[in-house]
Amino acid sequence: MIVKTALAALIAPMIGIFAALAFQPSPEMMRQLFEEALMRRKHEYGASDARTAQAARDLGLFLRSQGNLSAARDALAEAVRIDEKALGPAALQTFADVAELAGVSAPEQAEPLWRRAAESPDAKTSARASAALGQLREAASDQAAAATFYRRALVREEAASGQDSARVAVRLNALSRVVDLPEGIAHLDRAVDISRRRLGARHPETATLELNLAALLLKAGRLNEAVQSGADAMSCFEESLGDDDPRTGAAATLLAHALRAKRDIRGAERMYRRALAIDEQAYGPREARTWTDARTLAGFLREIGKRREAAELERRMLGDAPH
């Protein structure tokens, strides 16, 4: 009895503490509403009805938006099971839900699901699935297969959203990573052009494409163009995302590489330092991206004869870096 009373005395304030931690609007409260809606549909229409599948899909996509992928997977798998019974395996909605399920699954489980979704007669679903398959192949360093999937995604995207849509620019960007330099530059030129017209010349997505273009131009040895594109992208990031946004830092790194290739030592050093400062502030000093910046700057300082400063930087930043 005494133990029970003591526990009650301990638990009561804890309830208060936990309750007081609940933010408004609580994602858990929202989730509960979606789960109750699914239960109501099951009760009302049964577990094999398209309306119940809709509620399972709503719950799954809501959970995905909250970052709860494992719970989203269960709900979307349930939506696919119901779709197959209620609508059939070749229905557009079934393909679309298979793609959603793939999107929250681990790569091994996702690949067969994406392959199935890529066969959808709906160009939008097929484009998304083909692009995802391209990403999986790219991650596996199979550039040729990735290019095949990305090309298919591009064709399907053009059919789904038009030749000049912002989504076409996204597909072109992906394709540019896995093809040879001249073709990649041509794709990114087109993507930048589309993005300027669709989103605006000073939009951060346009700047991201410009930065990627600058990277390819640098690889191709077109240094002046690389510096120009990199500087444009950086000034756009500064304006739109902020002076200390990590994308501004990424642009600073690229610009530094381009200036270094042009033998603009002072400019390159300034940009390397800036990239390190931005990432150190954004991610903290003990983070892989910050360490990469520190290593790059240290290597550059050594190259230009500032050996003592390079050693000091390595001691300060990289003392306990992972190898």
Binding site: A12, A19, A22, P25, M29, A37, S65, L241, D244
Partner: protein, 299 residues
């Protein structure tokens, strides 16, 4: 015993918050009369009301400080955000912000974006309830005491032993997240948000978090540095000068600034949408021509 320990750490306790855990603003009045009176007069407290018979829709969202948008339940699946919003500056109706036309926007209750549920959740206090015939029922209208202090029925029962959350004790970044639950979160590292988009002027935590002042204040600058959490929002620019001079006692200006308040230039008013004006909370130096693009200091 193991079961009890598990319960203590299991997060569904947070999920299990129910209407019974909320006391309602009326329960706070006796012990906190000043805060209650101030909060009752604020726009937060009047953020949601039943629409009057002379108004369109079933629900009126917004206290009318700038605008009121009306929402109607169409059927068991759908709510309609009316296409015409009432604007104070017009003392009349015009297109609802963000709407492509005047027809209104239909929101499925359980659309995965939870758009209409979020509208109700942010404009009310406590958990929402969905009735058997799919009506959204808010627990308490408006943003009241427990929206920030958390469910407090237990505190009302045992005020000496159980204390509600005090947001005043949160760190600056935590407080920004708390306010950001409804006023939009600060951007996560690497997240791409176009801070020059005038629409974002209405997302104060996002813009404040991008300010050099916020980042360099080491936690001193919070939403509460300038805004009383209970009292109605001050619309006099000069009323905010005191907060600025705490850090900037003798600012150097290149231009003539006599008679002007700090926020007039450093947090300029931005027309986020026709008839809606917000202070740009990304504190910086701006030109009159472009109140969303800070002038970059030389590096």
């Amino acid at each position: 015993m193991k079961r009890v320990v598990a319960l203590l750490w299991f997060p569904w306790w947070i999920a299990a918050v129910s209407p019974e855990d909320f006391a309602g603003a009326a329960a706070c009045v006796d012990c906190h009369p000043l805060e209650s009176a101030a909060q009752s007069a604020s726009a937060h407290a009047h953020a949601l009301a039943r629409a009057l018979t002379s108004q369109p829709g079933d629900w009126a969202f917004g206290a009318g400080a700038q605008a009121i948008t009306f929402v109607k339940r169409l059927d068991s699946e759908t709510y309609l955000e009316e296409g015409q919003t009432w604007y104070r500056i017009l003392d009349g109706f015009a297109r609802t912000p963000g709407h492509p036309d005047d027809a209104g926007v239909r929101d499925r209750i359980f659309d995965p974006s939870a758009a209409i549920l979020r509208c109700f959740a942010c404009h009310s206090t406590g958990p929402l309830h969905i009735t058997g015939d799919q009506k959204i029922i808010p627990n308490e209208l408006g943003v009241r005491c427990e929206a920030c202090h958390g469910p407090s029925a237990a505190h009302v029962r045992e005020p000496g032993r159980i204390h509600p959350r005090n947001p005043g004790r949160l760190r600056a970044d935590e407080l920004n997240v708390l306010c950001g639950e409804c006023h939009r979160m600060p951007a996560a590292a690497g997240q791409s948000v176009n801070l020059r988009d005038p629409w974002n002027a209405r997302h104060q935590p996002l813009m404040l978090a991008a300010s050099i002042c916020f980042r360099q204040s080491q936690g001193k600058l919070t939403c509460l540095t300038c805004h009383s959490p209970h009292a109605p929002l001050s619309r006099k620019p000069a009323s905010y000068d005191g907060a600025c001079v705490r850090c900037h006692a003798a600012p150097r200006h290149k231009l003539q600034t006599a008679g002007r308040s700090c926020v007039t230039c450093h947090m300029p008013a931005v027309t986020a949408q026709p008839y809606l004006t917000f202070a740009n909370h990304r504190i910086a130096v701006y030109t009159a021509a472009d109140p969303m693009s800070p002038i970059r200091p030389r590096r």
